[in-house]
């Protein structure tokens, strides 16, 4: 190699490529745009909360409304002439119980399928499965509602002999079916992100495939897998149309899997159209939206703390 003169202003400095002022300016603009899109996510969340709360707020001071009754009473009689009562406990329990059934069914299936797709199946099958799973994730929720209303309810009636097929179990199964594709595709991404060198090291130490999965890959991918489960659960908590059609829509705290329930979301969707704008009923429905917002926020914050806890360990 020949020596290149390093003195400033020498031949080297002339050949050195320099950025034009315009491209530096362009860099700034792009940076600002990226920052703006990041900040906008926060602005949108705050704005949504604000507008929903603004619709709901006046009812907080109304005489037929008590916040304790709203949270802890099971009596939901919004259109009663003599004695209007807005108790959402049964609805909250409905949402939580349908979600719980969905989680119990979806998490093992979803994670199991993610592990199978990522680690055990042949490349050809993997491609096919991924396409099918993405297709499943794209099915609109109202179609899932039809499935619940017709196919699943018949199956449940045949298998259990219960009178009504639209119930907690039906809603949970439908929600699980909707969450599984999300858990699978995000979980599979998380497992694929584990470096191959880990797999090679484990295999070279004589680990079987399954030992490699549960001793190395699951611990290494736990954050991503938890994120997968949470997004799946998030879909279950917020889902409206499918549960409206599949759960039976009865305001009642369930005492078994075969009871009909009503969820917070389904309640809003079904009643908002009939509630006169500006009435107490209308405002209470918006307050239900605020409650849902808090539930999802608590779930997310709790999950975040769990992830941090795992990471520290």
């Amino acid at each position: 190699m020949s020596a290149v003169p390093l003195t400033p202003g020498g031949a080297a400095a002339e050949r050195r490529p320099t950025r034009s002022t315009l491209s530096l300016l362009g860099e700034r603009v792009i940076e600002a745009l990226i920052k703006l899109s990041g900040v906008s996510a926060v602005i949108f969340v705050v704005a949504i909360f604000f507008f929903i709360f603004r619709e709901a707020a006046p009812v907080l001071w109304s005489k037929d409304f008590h916040i304790l009754e709203f949270l802890f009473s099971t009596e939901w009689y919004p259109t009663s002439v003599s004695n209007v009562r807005y108790g959402t406990l049964a609805l909250t329990v409905g949402t939580l119980s349908v979600t719980a059934v969905a989680i119990v069914l979806a998490v093992p299936f979803g994670l199991g399928a993610a592990i199978f797709v990522s680690e055990f199946c042949s490349p050809k099958l993997k491609e096919t499965l991924k396409i099918v799973i993405e297709l499943l994730a794209a099915i609109p929720s109202v179609v899932w509602g039809f499935v619940g209303l017709t196919v699943m309810s018949k199956i449940i009636v045949t298998l259990t002999g219960t009178a009504v097929g639209v119930n907690l179990l039906n809603g949970g199964v439908i929600l699980a079916l909707m969450s599984v594709p999300i858990i699978v595709s995000i979980g599979e991404d998380a497992l694929r992100a584990v470096p191959d060198s880990y797999r090679e090291a484990a295999v070279a130490l004589g680990a079987t495939r399954w030992q490699t999965v549960y001793r190395v890959l699951l611990p290494a991918a736990k954050n991503g897998l938890l994120a997968a489960v949470l997004l799946g659960v998030g879909r279950a908590v917020g889902e409206t149309m499918a549960v409206l059609m599949a759960t039976g829509h009865a305001v009642h705290i369930p005492d078994g899997l075969l009871n009909s329930v009503r969820t917070l979301t389904a309640n809003v969707a079904a009643e908002l159209g009939e509630a006169p704008a500006g009435s107490s009923h209308y405002r209470v429905l918006f307050l239900t939206g605020v409650l849902l917002f808090w539930i999802t926020m608590v779930v997310n914050v709790a999950a975040d703390l769990v992830v941090r806890g795992i990471r520290r360990k």
Partner: protein, 254 residues
Amino acid sequence: MGGSSRIVEVEGLRLAYGIKEVLHGISFAIDRNEIFAVIGPAQSGKTSLLRCLNRTTDFIPSATVSGSIRVDGDDIRRVKDVFGLRRRVGMVAPLPVGLPMSIYDNVAFAPRCSGMTAKRELDDIVERCLTQAALWDEVKDRLSSLGTALSGGQQQRLTIARALSHQPEILCLDEFSIAIDPVTTMRIEDVLKGLRREITIILVTNLVQQARRLADRTMFLWNGEIVELGPSEIVFSDHPADRRTYDYVNGIFG
């Protein structure tokens, strides 16, 4: 089993990835308790050769292997328990891969995979292997901290301890010193000299000097063929059997 002085016998080994053949039918044997060096420029098939030995070529869909490899008399194509085979052949990768778990769990990984659960036995293995790999004194007070938090040289010694934890008959080291400093390299080389009494070591290296320092015999692999195989005194002398060996060792090509 165990009678022969040959621990590895390779005959007519061919390995191809798809249509590209990287090992063109090589044959050689490795004696028990020797340090056997494999030298050669990049792309000459050194790492592929190691992959054949513990059958991790199984994981490369396009790889096809023919010829025979016997480890301690057993044809590795026919072994029923490939996981057991991999425990007999310890492998240390070029870049240290600390598994994302504690130092203790890293070393206890292979014993646990083979079903050992007794805490006392595991403790003994962890201490013995870390001592053999010259790492025990540095980490004995923090066995529960993450293996990936160690320095590069320490991680490489951790991977050696891990490879020793399943009591292999053969320890393969694939260019173990490319990511670590010369002082640590010398320490690991001392460790290897000590280990030779118990196990056979296959040392794949780009460092000609390292092979000369350590190996009893050296094989010069070039473009998937053996150019020369002989005692290190001859391979690294002024008059090796093949002129190309002399040129490579002395930096004239390669």
